[in-house]
């Protein structure tokens, strides 16, 4: 570290390096324990779950049986939940990200009447308690017959104010006013400038907003809990929570904790995978924003 004698090769540097790495490792263990617990629990029989140490595997490796149970119990409803979640999250996230891109672009690159007010409204939306929205949505949807349909979950999820905020910031950074002006001088209309000249610059931002909206929709619990009433429409969060409750109270009869654990494991894997894959994409893309000398 420069002139204070703390260079990369110095003993002091190496010592602080090990100490700091050790601190992070402690938290790493804490972060991974619940996930590891789910992994070991989904490989056990229900008897072993109670009879053996929770944070290690038991001799009887029961993962395959648990997975078979998971996908066959109640006529394979779990697969249906996974499919529902995937469908709700994907459609919501595509719509939300696309709307956020257009709105964020408008906020970033144009002046128009009511801009400040509208933006303040969008930002203020994060303060609205979930119940304040979900309860009236439930009542309104019941009036128009949308309750217990996919639209009841998807439509409200299209409103993703943080995405608008993020896209605005991203557009301001990634697209210079001069590029838009150059497009105007070249005779392109405003929408043509967006679709033909600047859209590809915005892909990393769009990917970021997409994945945030996707995770938000995948993890959504309160809204589907309220607007969905039959098991075949549940997303995985609502379904697992019900299984969990019946396993806890013992009312589910044949529902075993190990199956709930296996279900948890299966339902978090896609999001984690999506994150890992997409992370590369948007981290690489962020620096490639705009060509500037």
């Amino acid at each position: 570290m420069g002139i204070v004698g703390n260079t990369v090769r110095s003993a002091r540097f190496r010592r602080s390096r090990w100490v700091l790495t050790a601190i992070l490792c402690v938290y790493l263990v804490y972060t991974l324990i619940p996930i590891f617990y789910v992994v070991t629990a989904s490989t056990k029989t229900n008897a072993d779950l109670f009879g053996t140490f929770g944070l290690w595997f038991s001799d009887d490796f029961h993962l395959r049986e648990n997975l078979v149970d998971l996908f066959t119990i109640q006529d394979g409803i779990f697969l249906r939940w996974l499919g529902n979640t995937f469908f709700y999250a994907l459609t919501s996230a595509i719509g939300a990200a696309f709307f956020a891109l257009l709105a964020g672009y408008a906020f970033a690159k144009y002046d128009f009447a009511g801009k400040r007010l509208l933006f303040a409204l969008v930002l203020g939306a994060v303060m609205i308690p979930q119940t304040a929205l979900v309860i009236p949505l439930y009542l309104l949807f019941s009036k128009v017959g949308l309750l217990n349909t996919p639209l009841a979950v998807i439509l409200p999820s299209l409103v993703f104010p943080p995405g608008v905020f993020l896209m605005r910031v991203y557009v301001e950074e990634a697209v210079s006013d001069e590029i838009i002006d150059a497009g105007r001088v070249d005779g392109a209309g405003e929408l043509h400038i967006l679709s033909g000249l600047t859209f590809r610059l915005l892909m990393p931002g769009l990917a970021t907003v997409f994945i945030l909206a996707f995770v938000a929709a995948w993890n959504n619990y309160f809204l589907p809990l309220v607007v969905m009433s039959t098991s075949d429409q549940f997303p995985v969060t609502v379904g697992l929570a019900i299984w969990y409750a019946s396993a806890t109270t013992g009312s589910g009869g044949n529902l075993l904790f190990t199956v709930v654990m296996a279900g948890s494991l299966v339902s978090i894997l896609p999001v984690i995978l999506a994150f890992l894959i997409m992370q590369r994409f948007w981290q690489g893309g962020l620096s490639a924003g705009s060509v500037k000398a």
């Binding site: 929770g54 408008a106 119940t131 309860i135 009236p136 608008v164 993890n219 929570a241």
Partner: protein
């Protein structure tokens, strides 16, 4: 020189003036339909009362008057205030410390830590609660097992005294990495020549991190505190899901959102529930505004 435009007048259909409105249209449509309209509808609900006899009638601010003196509501708010004072400092200081450590480049395997710490954010709150619920389990949970192995008294994570800490732990686990990523991105945006300047000034990596970098991301820290305040006051999923494990301590008005939910969907009191939600919204706004004022004064 030939004149470029002879016969080639470009057709610009949507110009600079209307373009922003066209671009905003889709978002504003869903924003109005699924946010503004429900809000107005809920507000209208909150001004009415439904009785078994006589149906629905306008009662003005009666529901609000009731909410303002409803001990069930305020006990929930008070609980969350206590909760916030435990949870937020721990979560945000951990996030900040990790972000500073990772940004300093002083550790091995930075990428691994960054992604691993962020992972819990991808885990739905429902599943996080469920996982921790098992770990807390008094009969078969690994923590109880360790205690039994060491012949210690069995820890009770669902007791009156422990429940707040148990829930706080779940939310810390869920959101520390998310806040860390926000701080990390802000730190990465600090120009490298500042670090060189501080080295020339003889500052150690620690001094540079705390005295130079930390003050530069104060605006970001303020934003995360704001979001944490808002998120805390809206706590619902974690206590709701843990109810079965801790029946004796988690009641139907444990948090304000929980209370509004119970009022609406168990007691069918939509009108009063709507009023509770709006009062909660007002409480959120007051807390956020108070914090903004305080932080403005502090940074001036």
């Amino acid at each position: 020189m030939t004149r470029f435009l002879a016969g080639h007048r470009p057709r610009v259909i949507i110009g600079k003036k209307i373009a922003p409105y066209v671009l905003l249209l889709p978002f504003v449509l869903v924003f109005v339909a699924f946010l503004i309209v429900p809000m107005i509808y809920a507000f209208n609900l909150s001004l009415h009362k439904t009785a078994l006899v006589g149906g629905t009638r306008f009662v003005g601010f009666d529901n609000y008057a009731r909410a303002f003196v409803d001990p069930n509501f305020w006990s929930g708010v008070w609980l969350l205030v206590r909760f916030g004072f435990i949870q937020m400092p721990i979560m945000l200081s951990l996030a900040l410390a990790f972000a500073l450590i990772l940004d300093s480049g002083l550790v091995y395997a930075r990428g691994l830590f960054r992604i691993a710490f962020f992972l819990p954010y991808a885990v739905p709150a429902v599943i996080a609660t469920l996982m921790w619920g098992y770990i807390y389990g008094p009969a078969y949970g690994p923590l109880a097992q360790i205690a039994a192995f060491l012949s210690l008294p069995k820890p009770d994570f669902f007791s009156e005294n422990a429940i707040l800490g148990s829930i706080a732990n779940i939310t810390i686990w869920e959101y520390t990495g998310y806040n860390m990523i926000i701080y990390f991105a802000a730190l990465q945006a600090i120009p490298a020549d500042l670090e060189e300047a501080s080295k020339m000034d003889g500052a150690s990596a620690f001094t540079y991190a705390v005295r130079v970098k930390l003050p530069m991301i104060v605006p970001m820290i303020i934003v995360t505190i704001m979001f944490s305040i808002i998120g805390t006051l809206q706590l619902f999923s974690e206590p709701y899901l843990i109810t079965n494990l801790a029946r004796s301590v988690i009641n139907s008005h444990f948090t304000p959102n929980y209370y509004a939910y119970t009022l609406a969907f168990t007691a069918q009191q939509y009108n009063y529930s709507a009023a509770i939600s709006f009062v909660l919204g007002a409480v959120v706004a007051v807390f956020s505004y108070a914090f903004m004022l305080a932080s403005n004064r502090g940074t001036r």
